[in-house]
């Protein structure tokens, strides 16, 4: 028992030390990579692309309506990233900075569509808010992304910013130049649409989700 406790403690300390060490090593490597990218070394730029493109692609898919749009957003974002990398101030993780640029690119991409839909007052949407727990483990990533992509653009953007990125409605309102109430109502609508899809897996714009994905 004593030995087990000892091994557990040593192992725990070892893991913590290793984690910290790994963080520092990664930061150093990242710094080197950034430097080479700023110098315009194509190999380093490709390495950075390979390192983060897969994660950023999922983010782009969340904000896009289809795969082609997502690729356009990702491409535009990476060009901005490489062009402006010298302005990266290194006071936050590089990925977060890249993700921020990608989100901004996606918002600009969708900006024309953001104001097309009529907005209901927030009070009318209260009925959609619920605290019921959901289980998404039965859905694949593609299926979930498909659900998000089928949302109206404005709902989709607000849903991403609020539920996934963790922004508050007030911040979202500032970002999108809309009122806080509008942000809440759009989110409520997005939530209700998604809940409908999850619960019933029924018709949404005339087709079932799974059927729509297969198409």
């Amino acid at each position: 028992m004593f030995l087990k406790t000892f091994v557990f403690i040593i192992g725990h300390i070892g893991v913590k030390t290793k984690t910290r060490h790994q963080i520092r090593v990664n930061m150093k490597q990242e710094k080197q990579l950034i430097k080479q990218c700023i110098q315009g070394k194509r190999q380093a730029q490709q390495q950075l692309y390979q390192l983060h493109s897969q994660q950023l692609y999922v983010v782009a898919l969340r904000y896009a309506q289809n795969q082609a749009d997502a690729e356009d957003i990702l491409q535009e974002a990476f060009i901005k990233i490489f062009t402006n990398l010298a302005q990266f101030r290194k006071d936050c993780p590089l990925f977060q900075w890249m993700k921020r640029i990608l989100i901004n690119t996606a918002l600009n991409h969708n900006r024309s569509k953001l104001y097309l839909y009529p907005v209901k007052d927030v009070n009318e949407m209260e009925e959609y808010l619920s605290t019921e727990q959901v289980n998404l483990s039965q859905y694949s990533l593609d299926e979930l992304l498909q659900m998000v992509q089928t949302l109206p653009t404005r709902c989709q953007v607000v849903f991403n910013l609020y539920a996934i990125e963790g922004y508050k409605h007030q911040e979202i309102a500032q970002m999108l130049s809309i009122s806080e109430g509008t942000s809440k109502s759009q989110y409520s609508r997005a939530k209700s649409l998604l809940q409908d899809m999850i619960k019933e897996e029924k018709l949404f714009y005339g087709k079932g989700i799974k059927q729509q994905i297969q198409l």
Partner: protein, 492 residues
């Protein structure tokens, strides 16, 4: 069933877990499209081109100076003299000094004495400048003042006269117009080289030359200077590192800091430096010198940041980052506690940049501008090299190290002049003493025999960071490049 119930979360959390940090491979062609849109990669040799050009210039400059060096010309002249035959012909009715042979023994003696007396001849560059020319009879120089060497000769209208120009330099002194004596006389010269070695009685020229020899050179100088500089503080806010240390100190679990640090932005602007000082210099050798002194420096930085906020209740100014760390580091769910913190919310509402893109600051928020002013004494020690181009123009190159002693540093904002609540770590408290290295190039132009003016550029860079605590998450390692003007007065 149990497993299913374990996977149930509230709506937002379920979606966040399902979609955060997921990966999907994009189309292979995407990278090719990005690459095509990026500016073409510069070839290695193109990147090195500016450096190659600078290196080439330096090498060519060095070769030029080497070839033009007085010592080299002297050696060429000496060789010419020694190789010439003593035979003269009718065509040599007006022989030049190059054609006259000086006996090797005498020549050796001359050179020996020259070394001993620390005088060496200089090149004929002084011939064209009346202020630095000496006309001196060759025969006399060989006998009475062996340290003088003939450098050149010119034909006189009178074929019986030979005008000889001789220049000299004090090896251990600066080349200064005051070191030269001006004499001018056409001296009848013998047509035959054999007569060169005939001893002649001392003339008044010998007396003047002797006076020159005995004169002490200007060995030291004072320089009064002032300057302006563009200063870059190289301010680094390493929040990530600071937070890691903070967590380590509090034995906190490591966690994903997510987009927390994105909210903090900082930018340097309006940096100026001014200096005024006094330096004392002295010669180490014919061309190298040592210079030291003291200068007062004043630097001012302005930092735009959204980290600072004003507490309207008591008027104090705070750093939201530090306050949040202090309040929340012991909380079990640190990051969520931070995000829920009232200061963070206030910050987001009040001082957050309106534009999310890159380093766009909310310049309208006057509280966001922090101004730092540094007052310090700079005590340098420099090694210099001087190159003379004309009798008046010289170039000085200096390399040195300096100790800086901070007298005072203040931080304020444009609206709050009396701040008390700044975090020392954030402010980056400065060490009382730190060091820097410097390199400079100055042109010196002689206004009078002992007074000259200097103008040039100087670069300074701190040796390491100048902040007191190495773990401070604001690190400053300033550098400056500036213009310096001054007056230099030589004395013995």
């Amino acid at each position: 069933m149990e497993k299913e119930s374990n996977n149930k979360y509230n709506f937002e959390e379920a979606w966040r877990k399902a979609l955060s940090d997921k990966k999907k491979v994009p189309d292979d062609a995407l990278w090719a499209n990005i690459e095509a849109a990026l500016p073409p990669q510069k070839a290695a040799w193109k990147r090195l081109l500016p450096w190659l050009a600078v290196t080439l210039l330096l090498v060519l400059g060095a070769i030029y100076f080497f070839i033009k060096s007085p010592e080299n010309i002297l050696s060429i002249e000496t060789k010419n003299i020694s190789r010439k035959s003593t035979k003269t012909t009718e065509s040599d009715a007006l022989p030049t000094l190059h054609q006259k042979e000086i006996p090797k023994t005498a020549q050796a003696k001359d050179l020996g004495n020259a070394e001993k007396d620390t005088f060496t001849p200089i090149l004929p560059q002084t011939q064209t400048d009346a202020a630095t020319d000496i006309l001196f009879p060759l025969a006399t120089s060989n006998t009475v003042l062996p340290s003088y060497h003939p450098l050149d000769s010119t034909k006189s209208l009178n074929p019986d006269n030979q005008i000889v120009k001789v220049g000299f330099e004090k090896r251990n002194s600066i080349v200064d117009s005051a070191s030269f004596v001006v004499l001018s006389k056409a001296i009848p010269m013998p047509a035959h080289t054999e007569e060169l070695n005939v001893k002649t009685p001392p003339t008044r020229f010998d007396a003047i030359a002797a006076e020159v020899l005995s004169a002490k050179p200007d060995r030291h100088w004072w320089t009064v200077h002032f300057g302006v500089a563009q200063v870059n503080s190289h301010l680094q806010n390493n929040y990530q590192s600071y937070l890691l240390d903070y967590m380590k100190a509090h034995q906190h679990e490591m966690f994903e800091t997510r987009n927390f640090f994105e909210q903090s932005q900082e930018q340097l602007s309006n940096t100026q430096g001014y200096q005024v000082g006094l330096e004392l210099g002295t010669w180490l050798g014919p061309k190298f010198y040592l210079q030291g002194g003291v200068a007062y420096h004043f630097w001012q930085f302005e930092r735009q940041s959204n980290n600072f906020y004003k507490n309207e209740a008591d008027g104090t100014q705070h750093d939201f980052m530090l306050d949040m760390l202090k309040d929340n580091i012991s909380a079990p769910d640190f990051i969520h506690a931070l995000q829920a913190h009232s200061i963070y919310r206030d910050y987001l509402q009040g001082a957050a940049p309106s534009d999310l893109h890159l380093a766009q600051f909310n310049a309208e928020n006057a509280e966001a501008v922090l101004r730092s002013r540094y007052h310090f004494l700079n005590i340098p020690a420099k090694l210099g090299y001087q190159r003379q181009f004309t009798s008046r123009l010289k170039l000085n190159f200096e390399l040195g190290v300096a100790m800086n002693y901070f007298l005072r540093n203040t931080n304020d904002s444009k609206t709050l002049q009396n701040l008390q609540d700044f975090n020392p770590k954030k402010r980056g408290d400065l060490s009382q003493i730190h060091f820097n290295w410097s390199a400079g190039a100055f042109a010196e132009y002689a206004l009078k025999s002992r007074l000259s003016t200097i103008v040039g550029v100087e670069y300074q860079r701190a040796l390491g960071t100048i902040t007191k605590d190495s773990k401070s998450y604001t690190q400053i390692q300033p550098e400056s490049i500036g213009l310096r003007l001054g007056l230099r007065y030589y004395w013995r």
